[in-house]
């Protein structure tokens, strides 16, 4: 089985995000970029599945500018076998990403696609779900554990009420939550080997996908500054405030 891992290049999670003065976006000049942390978890999971002998090949896919090669090389150093860059300068939105991934999957025929549940830039949390719908594949979002069974996968999902375990058939789309695993450090010999692994470049046109944005961003603004907290004397006062002031219980 092949596993496809789509990964995204985002502003590093350590960087304090600043909104551009004109509200057109966030400041990315001179800002450190890295692989989206949820995508790192996806790569790690794929590598563990391969190490356990349940997959033969891992293909990492990124969509964006040439610079995305850096996260693809990182994925290769972590253990992916080859990489595909779908190169475009357009800011590609979730539906178009899902369509590009569908086209890639039709070419590569993997049995499993593992994605981050969301990217920490837009926090859209859409691509995985859209991809499974477009493909008609089973779906398990927010995975905190993945087990292989005779008939497919048993996936534990982190849902609002706690944990939910579902059985799904392959092929499937799984999206990762934070607690699925802890990504490894890349090893020095693997960094050097990554250089020799294939990295193919293609374009959205070659895949026959129109990536023109369908959503216009009108304005981007800082969230309001957090108001100061209040101290309560005891639990009774806390419950009272939660019930009558905040009206959350």
């Amino acid at each position: 089985m092949k596993i496809l891992i789509p990964i995204k290049r985002v502003i590093d999670f350590n960087v304090r995000i600043r909104v551009k003065k004109d509200g057109s976006g966030v400041e990315t000049a001179n800002v450190k970029m890295s692989m989206n942390p949820f995508c790192e978890i996806a790569v790690e999971e794929a590598v563990r599945i391969k190490e356990a002998g349940k997959a033969e090949e891992i293909i990492a896919v990124a969509i964006g500018g040439r610079q995305c090669q850096d996260i693809l090389r990182t994925a290769l150093a972590m253990g992916a076998d080859r990489a595909i860059l779908i190169e475009t300068d357009v800011e590609v939105q979730p539906l178009a990403i899902a369509k590009l991934l569908k086209a890639t999957i039709e070419k590569e025929s993997p049995g499993l696609a593992i994605l981050g549940k969301q990217a920490i830039d837009g926090d859209n949390n859409q691509t995985g779900q859209m991809l499974s719908a477009l493909l008609g594949w089973s779906q398990a979002a927010f995975a905190s554990n993945i087990e292989f069974t005779d008939t497919g996968l048993e996936v534990t999902r982190e849902v609002d009420g706690g944990l939910e375990t579902i059985a799904i058939k392959l092929p499937a789309v799984v999206t990762t939550d934070l607690r699925l695993n802890e990504p490894r450090y890349v090893k020095l010999p693997n960094i050097m080997k990554a250089r020799k692994k294939p990295l193919d470049v293609m374009t959205p046109q070659e895949l026959g996908v129109d990536v023109a944005p369908s959503i216009d961003v009108l304005d981007i603004a800082e969230p309001p500054a957090r108001a100061a907290g209040v101290k309560v004397a005891d639990v009774n006062e806390l419950v009272d405030k939660l019930r009558n002031e905040a009206k959350v219980i």
């Binding site: 090893k187 010999p189 250089r195």
Partner: protein, 386 residues
Amino acid sequence: MEFGLSHEQQMVVDTVRSFVENELYPLEDEVERSGQVPRALGREIQDKVGELGFYAPNIPEEFGGGGLDSLTFTLLERELGRASMALSVFWGRPSNILCAGDAGQRERYLLPCVRGEKIDALAMSEPDAGSDIRAMKTFARRDGSDYVINGTKHFISHADVADFIITFVATGEEETPSGPKKRLTCFLIDRDTPGFDIRPGYNSVSHRGYHNNILIFDDCRVPASQLLGEEGSGFDLANTWLAATRLTVAATCTGRARRCFDLCVDWAANRRQFGQPIGRFQGISFKLADMITGIDAADWLTLAAAWRLDQELDANRQIAEAKLYASEMLARVTDEAIQIFGGMGLMDDLPIERFWRDARVERIWDGASEIQRHIIARDLLRPLGA
């Protein structure tokens, strides 16, 4: 001119940085408090680094090392320099000079170092021979097929955790344009050799937990097979193999300065006096501007010298410039850091006072600033016969 890092170099930097932040920073307070790193903890660090395939990254692949070029290794040293030296010493980087050994010595010393089974230290300095290394008194007398060594070394870093010491001693004297000088010879001395004793050194203000030691040779008898290179070749050996270690001082200074600086920027943006962040006062913000300018300058000097080594160009002067500038820059940056932090900067609740203390030795070891200036000036004037 190419100023960017390759993907591989960037991955090396990112990996070392996150290892240092996740695995070493959390141990630092305890090292500062106790002045010790338990050997078992050192072993744990060695094992983790070994698992990453990052042990002995400077040693060529043919000997089982990481085979990094000078530039990439310098980047690695820069990131490692962020952490306490008492801890980072266990990220094994055996001395390159071990590659100069014969097949048997490589088998007995270099390869075990690369595998993390042995740790080396290097001894030149003596109470009466610091900058003037060729004034050393420790002497090896030939006796049949053996050598008998007598004398004292001091300031020998991490000899307490070393299994053997790469030791330079005098084996004679020769006339030079600047008068008679000792002929140096390099020996590999196992720690349990009879007549050889490793004793605790002085308490240093810099790099707590990274100990210096005193070595006593009292009729210490070693066979000629312990001789590295030829008798009398010690000075040339040192020049060939050890110049690059001065570059690691420059690199570690730059990494540590940047760690310290990041804390300063954060403090300047958040510490409020007179109703505003202190960074709004030009008296503070201009300090930050000068600090980062110095850090970037030291970084480029250091990387450019490393690049020259990779191109096999002369780099002696450039290495001296980098070592001189980076160590003096670190002194300024850590001093200004205390100014920016005010009183809190002096308290051991924060790592700032430690950066300031640790910075002091960098202008002294591996060739004091004056010696680096001397090297630079000689490089300029010697060709003119002056």
